[in-house]
């Protein structure tokens, strides 16, 4: 699978941020599929499946997860912990996104195995630049394990 076809999973609860993030990401990487999950629980259902549904096949195509730190129901750090504790997902690059830059949160995120930590800028042009850099790096520069049929767990 070509690198350009990797998809991005965005976990973001705030509708404003959803729109703004999606807008910035589309501008940065128009051809990459962007998957949106609205909270931690939904993200976990998407990644691991629920009682009523199986895990999404789209998981195999993921190139990076942009995970908001503060989420209702299941927090971003909890989602991160679950991702890291399952062999199906522990390889996935996770970028923690937050509005704050609390040193404690930062340390905890890295301790739980975050690959990157980004404070969302208030200035939208700076935010757009951040999204652009993220998409470029994680989808075109960074390497993830072989995807698709060869990923057998």
């Amino acid at each position: 699978m070509a690198k350009g076809e990797c998809s991005i999973l965005v976990v973001e609860d705030n509708p404003d941020d959803q729109i703004l993030t999606m807008r910035a990401l589309r501008k940065a990487s128009s051809h990459s599929p962007i998957i949106l999950q609205e909270d931690g629980q939904a993200a976990l259902g998407f990644l691991f499946g629920t009682e009523s549904s199986k895990r999404s096949p789209q998981v195999d195509t993921l190139g990076v997860i942009l995970l908001d730190l503060k989420l209702p129901k299941v927090s971003g750090l909890e989602v991160l912990r679950r991702i890291r504790s399952s062999p199906q997902t522990d390889w996935l690059p996770v970028v923690m996104m937050t509005s704050s830059d609390e040193p404690n949160e930062l340390r905890e995120a890295y301790r739980l195995g975050a690959n990157s930590f980004v404070t969302k800028q208030i200035d939208y042009s700076k935010f757009s630049e951040q999204m652009c850099l993220l998409a470029r790096y994680w989808l075109t520069v960074n390497q993830v394990p072989m995807v698709g049929s060869s990923r057998s767990f």
């Binding site: 703004l20 830059d101 200035d123």
Partner: protein, 496 residues
């Protein structure tokens, strides 16, 4: 060791006993002696009178014989005295002083001559008596009698032995009684002393001494008990208030840590929840500007630009508040900081910003302070940025940073040639959200100097400023000098 034989180390009961014994001994000795003396006198007087009577009878009987110089008759009269063993010698003299007749006892000794007056009375071991023999008022001769005193001496010796034996007996009895009675006085004192000893050693203030009677010892015991009771009460009070204090401190500490946790939650909330809508406003503003530019006229675009500028300002305010709250509660990591190098780094960043004013900045080399590097960087960044900002309307910018070391502090002075400030408002300079310039003159949040103040305070230092008219501003940061003491003091504060 030898000290303990001294009088002051003797136990009280020994002293009391010794006192009683010595006084009793003295008394008994005096009584015995006077008894012996009196007895001696009495016995001597009795002897004297007995012998006097004998002499009277004999002189009377021998008067006629003397007159007729009938020595045979005198001898017969005198021989009656042979029965009295103690009489050593009896001599009868005629009127001219010649010995008429004599009766000699065991030891032969001639009758004394009357030419010299013989010693009469008690002399040595003998009692001597010389009496004139009279008949019808005329002296017809002399009667001399010498008696041995051995019976008297024996009697007196027996008396001495008996009286002193009785004395010793009484003394023994007295000592026994005294040793019992002295306890009445010594025992309460000894108990008092033991109790005082135990209290001072064991710090057990519940100990009381038994109180005997109402005399001075009783009063002493009661007063002692009362005193110890007061000490015990006071101790309890002190303990109570110490416990109260500890509880209060614990309560306050837990309240404080709760408040701290709330503050942390609050600042997290501020940083996250306030930023998010702000980012939405800014983001959608830009999206509007980019995507719907054609549908807005110049006024609309101007409004939009103002909305976006305001959100950026508010973002700055939130950031400032966060920094202020962080420097207030963040744990300190104290180390030696090369301030000159730090200022040079900050200056390099400042010089990168778009500012065309020709600048002349001098930083005194090798300024060393002790503190938390991150916090100090925030403080001095604020101060240098301020100096930079308020000199940005000058033709030429001059900033000078120098240090002045004193006995136990180091004062860093940052002097600029900027617009300065009105000294009237110097008190408001370091208070959060107080600004001395309008945003139109100089931009700012009003949080920078408050943050500086907070950082310096946490380093046990102080910050102050002055602004002479028309010659810029000078900010002084006084920090405890990099000494071992200050370092450890700050370290203690940091680990708390």
């Amino acid at each position: 060791m030898s000290n303990h034989w001294r009088w002051q180390y003797w136990p009280l009961r020994t002293k009391l006993l010794l006192l009683t014994v010595s006084i009793s001994t003295l008394g008994i000795l005096l009584v015995c002696t006077s008894l012996v003396v009196v007895e001696n006198r009495t016995y001597e007087a009795q002897l004297e009178s007995e012998l006097g009577v004998i002499a009277d009878i004999l002189t009377e009987q021998s008067a006629a014989a003397l007159l007729f110089e009938d020595s045979q008759q005198v001898k017969t009269i005198l021989s009656s005295l042979n029965q009295i063993e103690t009489i050593e010698q009896v001599c009868v003299y005629n009127v001219s002083g010649d010995v008429m007749s004599a009766l000699n006892g065991t030891g032969y000794e001639p009758c004394p001559s009357l030419d010299v007056d013989p010693a009469v009375g008690f002399v040595g071991d003998y009692y001597r008596l010389l009496e004139p023999v009279t008949l019808d008022g005329d002296i017809v001769g002399q009667f001399y009698l010498m008696s041995r005193l051995e019976v008297l001496r024996e009697h007196i010796w027996t008396f001495i032995v008996i009286s002193f034996s009785v004395g010793v007996g009484i003394l023994v009895l007295l000592i026994w009684v005294a040793s019992r009675l002295q306890r009445l006085i010594s025992e309460p004192i000894v108990e008092l002393s033991n109790a005082a000893d135990r209290i001072s050693n064991e710090h057990d203030y519940s100990i009381r001494v038994p109180v005997y009677g109402k005399d001075e010892l009783g009063i002493l015991g009661s007063a002692f008990n009362e005193m110890i009771g007061t000490i015990q009460q006071q101790n309890q009070k002190i303990l109570q208030s110490k416990n109260d204090l500890e509880r209060t401190v614990a309560e306050r500490t837990s309240e404080l840590s709760l408040a701290n946790r709330e503050l942390e939650a609050f600042s997290f909330s501020v940083s996250h929840d306030l930023r998010q809508p702000l980012r939405a406003v800014e983001g959608f503003g830009q999206a509007l500007e980019e995507d719907c530019r054609d549908q807005l006229d110049d006024t609309g675009l101007d409004y939009l630009a103002r909305i976006r500028a305001a959100t950026v300002r508010m973002g700055g305010l939130i950031d400032g508040m966060l920094v202020l709250s962080r420097v207030s509660r963040q744990a300190m990591e104290v180390e030696r900081v090369d301030l000159s190098a730090m200022l040079a780094e900050i200056l390099e960043e400042l010089q990168d910003t778009t500012d065309t004013v020709p600048s002349e900045v001098t930083i005194q080399p090798d300024m060393q302070v002790v503190g938390d590097e991150r916090m100090l960087r925030i403080a001095f960044q604020n101060l240098l940025e301020n100096a930079w900002k308020y000199t940005s309307k000058n033709e030429k910018r001059a900033i000078d940073v120098s240090a002045c070391e004193e006995h136990n502090s180091i004062t860093i002075a940052l002097k600029d040639n900027g617009v300065g400030f009105d000294m009237k408002y110097v008190d408001k300079l370091f208070v959060a959200f107080n600004r001395l310039h309008t945003p139109a003159q100089f931009s700012g949040t009003g949080l920078g100097l408050a943050t500086v103040d907070r950082v310096v305070r946490r380093h046990f230092g102080r910050v102050f400023a002055e602004s002479p008219i028309d010659s810029g501003a000078c900010f002084y940061v006084e920090l405890p000098r990099p000494e071992r003491g200050a370092e450890s003091g700050l370290q203690q504060q940091a680990t708390r």
